[in-house]
């Protein structure tokens, strides 16, 4: 069975503001969902709702046609989340950080060495992350994502702190992931050029 992420009639109210109402989408294997909109329009909130961390006013999110909240562990085993804050420990080095992740999620059979070389971080292995630049830390977070064996990538502003070459690399990685049958939900305010079926949601 190919994986499938769908949502129906999502409404989220934070405080007095309605961030989105009656929002729905369907995302199949090999497709990407792009969330666009200005700062503070609810992209991250929608992302958190998809990850099952926010409760919605109305609507539900389905993974393979089963509500996400009824199979939280299965769903979380099928995704990685590249959040705005990397979730990596500054006091630990790259290897120690990735080691932790390895104990939580199924890992792909990619060779870690190749992944590090491709991201240009192979020489930073032994350094504590706090001594790395913000862009390098983001590359380590990308390595964590590449090493996990999951179909769904949730990427919240993946281009933050990356140089031009890094941005191109991210788009390339997403393209490869989609070509291999994966899926991706991305929130971005830059232009994203990806050669794959993209559904855009423009948030107000």
């Amino acid at each position: 069975m190919t994986p499938r992420l769908t949502a129906d009639n999502l409404t989220l109210i934070r405080g007095e503001r309605c961030l989105f109402e009656g929002l729905g989408f369907a995302l199949n294997s090999g497709e990407m969902l792009l969330l666009e909109g200005r700062n503070g329009c609810g992209k991250t909130s929608l992302m958190r709702a998809i990850a099952g961390m926010l409760s919605l006013e109305t609507g539900q999110i389905f993974w393979n046609d089963v509500p996400v909240l009824k199979q939280r562990q299965t769903f979380h085993g099928a995704l990685v989340w590249l959040a705005h804050r990397t979730g990596l420990k500054g006091d630990l080095n790259m290897v120690e950080n990735l080691q932790f992740e390895k104990s939580l999620r199924p890992q792909s059979d990619r060779d870690p060495q190749e992944v590090f070389e491709r991201l240009g971080i192979e020489r930073l292995r032994r350094l504590p992350l706090r001594s790395l630049s913000a862009g390098q830390q983001r590359r380590v977070a990308l390595a964590r994502m590449l090493l996990a064996d999951v179909p769904l990538w949730l990427m919240d502003e993946p281009f933050t702190n990356l140089d031009r070459e890094g941005r191109r690399l991210v788009m390339q990685l997403v393209e490869e992931h989609l070509a291999a049958g994966g899926m991706c939900v991305m929130a971005a305010h830059q232009d994203v050029e990806i050669n794959a079926p993209v559904t855009k949601i423009r948030m107000q």
């Binding site: 069975m1 190919t2 994986p3 294997s29 990850a51 099952g52 961390m53 926010l54 409760s55 562990q73 299965t74 979380h76 085993g77 995704l79 989340w81 959040a83 705005h84 804050r85 990397t86 979730g87 990596l88 420990k89 500054g90 006091d91 630990l92 120690e96 080691q99 932790f100 390895k102 104990s103 939580l104 999620r105 199924p106 792909s108 504590p128 064996d149 999951v150 179909p151 291999a180 049958g181 994966g182």
Partner: protein
């Protein structure tokens, strides 16, 4: 990638991984571990200086002072239990991990006990000497502290999880935890006093043990629920 059954790591791997990571972090920043320990040692050594060296008075107040200091030192260390993870986004990563959240919370609590509760227990015999505690009572005191600090770490993790999103949540955390921690303090201090007075003290040990087991079986679930709520 489309294989339906990917090899999921077992639940114990999540428990050990969180505990191991927190121990590694504590190793790299020993200050966080030593602060509560210094606090404990300072309260216990300053008290005899302030009330005077009368043997009878020290023997009488020793168990109480040691226990109050242990309770406050534990409360002091609890605030940082989830704070670091909250600030760098690791907490979000734990919440979206495929491992059961109560198990991960238990892993963190285990590391917290090993770096805060256990050191208190280990230095307590030295401090007990200041209060002229008989050597026969010292093992009893250590046992009450072991059982008591386990309960305090577990119960405290609920409070720490509830207050993690709040700035300066320490006062609130203490208020939330104190009612649950009171039985531990009363049982602990009185058991040691009874043992010092050559009275029967085993009931207290059993009760502390029961409290620790009850905390162990309930607190991880409450902590997990609290983490989800405070991260909405």
């Amino acid at each position: 990638m489309n294989e339906p059954v990917a090899q999921q790591p077992g639940i114990f791997s999540g428990l050990w991984a969180t505990a191991r990571r927190d121990l590694l972090l504590a190793w790299k920043r020993p200050g966080d571990v030593l602060n509560p320990l210094f606090f404990f040692a300072m309260v216990c050594t300053l008290f005899p200086l302030a009330v005077g060296p009368s043997a009878a008075q020290l023997e009488f107040s020793g168990p109480g002072v040691l226990w109050v200091a242990a309770l406050l030192a534990t409360l002091l260390s609890l605030n940082s239990l989830f704070l670091g993870d909250f600030e760098d986004g690791s907490l979000d990563q734990l919440l979206v991990s495929p491992q059961p959240l109560p198990v991960l919370a238990l892993g963190k609590t285990l590391a917290h006990w090993l770096t805060s509760g256990l050191p208190l227990v280990l230095v307590s015999p030295v401090l007990a000497m200041t209060y002229r505690m008989p050597w026969s009572v010292v093992p009893v005191m250590m046992l009450t502290l072991v059982l008591g600090t386990i309960s305090l770490s577990l119960l405290g993790s609920i409070g720490a999880a509830l207050t993690v999103g709040l700035h300066r949540g320490t006062a609130l955390l203490s208020l939330l935890i104190l009612p649950l921690a009171m039985p531990v303090l009363l049982l602990g201090a009185n058991t040691v006093s009874l043992a010092a007075g050559n009275d029967i003290y085993t009931t207290g040990i059993w009760a502390l043990g029961a409290y620790a087991v009850a905390s162990l079986s309930l607190a991880p679930y409450a902590t997990a629920a609290a983490l989800r709520i405070s991260n909405e």
